[in-house]
Amino acid sequence: MEKNGRRGFMGKAFGAVAAVGAVGSLVAMKKSWDPLPSVKAAGFTTLDMTAYTAGELVTEKWRGKPIFVLKKTPEMVAKQNEDDKARDIIVNGEHFMVAIGLCTHLGCIPAYYPDEEGFICACHGGQFDFAGMVTKVPPPRGLDIPPFRIDGNKLVLGEIGPEYENMKENGVTL
């Protein structure tokens, strides 16, 4: 193509039009793959924290993900180390482990073994204690804690309260 001739100009002009079109269509394609507003709006779950029995794991559901809720027994609370304590969610004086029940490795659901007071993930062999801390790799970190806000006896998942913000700042959860 000639550098400065009419053809050169036309080539550049087409290139400019095509570039604008390409960027525009990429933006549209990216946005088309985003989660829909209806999907995002359905992302809140409220739990009544008075309904749980100490030492029994209950699996709730939030954003399609399993949420582990474990009311800790006094013995569990007594033997917690500093890492475990930092993860405690305290509602009306009761200590709870609330975490997203997906292994932080690749997202399988670990199973709870009440006798061992811990979780084992069948997929890749990861293990967690009753507070959700890793006791055996490959998981890179403890079970993630969902965004929460304490509202009297209730826990609202999906909303961000001061306790959650505090955990996030201290690196307790992601």
Binding site: W33, V39, K61, R63, K65, T104, I109, G125, P138, P140
Partner: protein
């Protein structure tokens, strides 16, 4: 406008407009294949036939399958399997072919590695072939989502989680790929689109590239001998068919090719009619449940070796090792520094390397299927490390190879 004459026959009419005789020569009767080959050279045709089986059975499945989280499972397991006349046949052909196609791909790949068919001008054949392997893998994975059983769901969960890239925590990217916080309707719909349109289009384009890459360097032969295809073709056309080192693609080579295809198809349909269960994981006959992980999640056999490279390490190292395993085969033509294009058994250390790699991948495959406990964990870890070590050693051992 070009000059056209009154046609003397239908063939002549077409010839004037489409040059069909010339096309036939270029594509078949004067496309030259070396004589010094064996049945392993038929794997390309076997793959082509298997791809056609997948395409045709897929078209019939597409007419009754419903890409909806509420109805997908029943549309496969009830409508197609029980109501549609011969629906079971299309499903079993599709499932068995999806598994067997990888067996043939691996044979095709290791044939190429053994005979050095990625060297001296054949690099693009190898690279386009590896791109086909990657798109076939994506095609297999996206297809595995569609019955929306437990394995579909949890494989979808685990594989899309890989895109958070471990320590980088790209959860937004994972949610973008899924179109939801977890695999749900948006996820099923887009993987359905990928499986039936975008990826097959890419595969068709890559098959075209793979064939085009063959034309100039031609097919390799059992001794890696450099053949003057023009001279040998002239010899053949002059009547010295016996003395020439080449033969016509059609019908000479094709006749033997299709003989192998015939034997293959008997084996294939034996599996379809009597042994289809190996391609149908029993866990996937439970409908998807986001609140219940199956006890053991493992991929189909053809992904086990790379899964086992991911599994024994902590998440970031595992992902790096996994990424390494995915791309390293593509780079083979550049990692093999030896000037020799001969079978591996004449290449000293490389011959040992070839068999070690093959055995290592079989061990990785076996360990990937077993639960990650005790001795299996250790063997898996050793095999994964050996895989990486073998590829790192390749440039050094091949650079030392003497020119034959």
């Amino acid at each position: 406008m070009a000059h056209f004459e009154k046609a003397t026959s239908v063939k002549d009419w077409l010839n004037q407009r489409l040059a069909i005789e010339k096309v036939e020569k270029v594509m078949a009767s004067e496309y030259w294949i070396p004589k010094n080959i064996n049945f392993l050279w038929a794997m390309g045709m076997v793959l082509m036939i298997t791809f056609i089986l997948l395409l045709v059975s897929g078209i019939f499945l597409l007419m009754y399958y419903q890409p909806n989280v509420a109805t997908a499972f029943d549309s496969v397991n009830y409508t197609i399997m029980r109501e549609v006349g011969f629906g079971w046949l299309w499903r079993h052909i599709h499932g068995v072919a999806a598994s067997v196609v990888f067996l043939i791909i691996y044979i095709h790949m290791f044939t190429g590695i053994y005979y050095g068919s990625y060297k001296k001008g054949r690099e693009m054949i190898w690279i386009s072939g590896m791109l086909l392997f990657i798109t076939f893998s994506a095609e297999a994975f996206s297809g595995y989502m569609l019955p929306w059983g437990q394995m579909s769901y949890w494989a979808g969960m685990v594989i899309t989680n890989i895109f958070s890239l471990g320590g980088l925590h790209l959860d937004g990217l994972v949610e973008w790929i899924r179109g939801d916080y977890v695999p749900a309707q948006a996820f099923l719909n887009r993987f359905f689109m990928l499986h039936v349109l975008l990826l097959p289009l890419a595969i068709l384009g890559l098959i075209g590239l793979h064939f085009a890459a063959l034309r100039i360097p031609h097919v390799n032969n059992q001794d890696g001998e450099e053949i003057d295809f023009d001279a040998e073709a002239q010899k053949y056309l002059a009547g010295d068919k016996k003395g020439s080192k080449v033969m016509r693609f059609a019908n000479d080579f094709m006749s033997k090719d299709m003989m192998v295809v015939g034997i293959y198809l008997i084996f294939f349909f034996y599996l379809v009619f009597y042994h289809y269960n190996f391609a149908m994981d029993p866990v996937n006959f439970d409908p998807a449940d986001g609140l219940k992980t199956p006890a053991h999640i493992y991929p189909e056999w053809y992904f086990l070796w790379s899964y086992e490279i991911l599994r024994p390490f902590s998440v970031n190292i595992g992902l790096i090792a996994f990424g390494f395993a995915q791309v390293i085969f593509v780079l083979l033509p550049f990692l093999d520094r030896s000037p020799n294009t001969v079978p591996a058994n004449r290449r000293g250390a490389f011959g040992i390397w070839f068999w070690l790699l093959l055995v290592d991948m079989i061990v990785l495959t076996a360990m990937g299927k077993l639960p990650p406990e005790g001795a299996f964990s250790t063997i898996g870890l050793v095999a994964a490390l050996a895989f990486i070590a073998l590829w790192i050693a390749l440039p050094f051992i091949t650079a030392k190879e003497k020119k034959l």
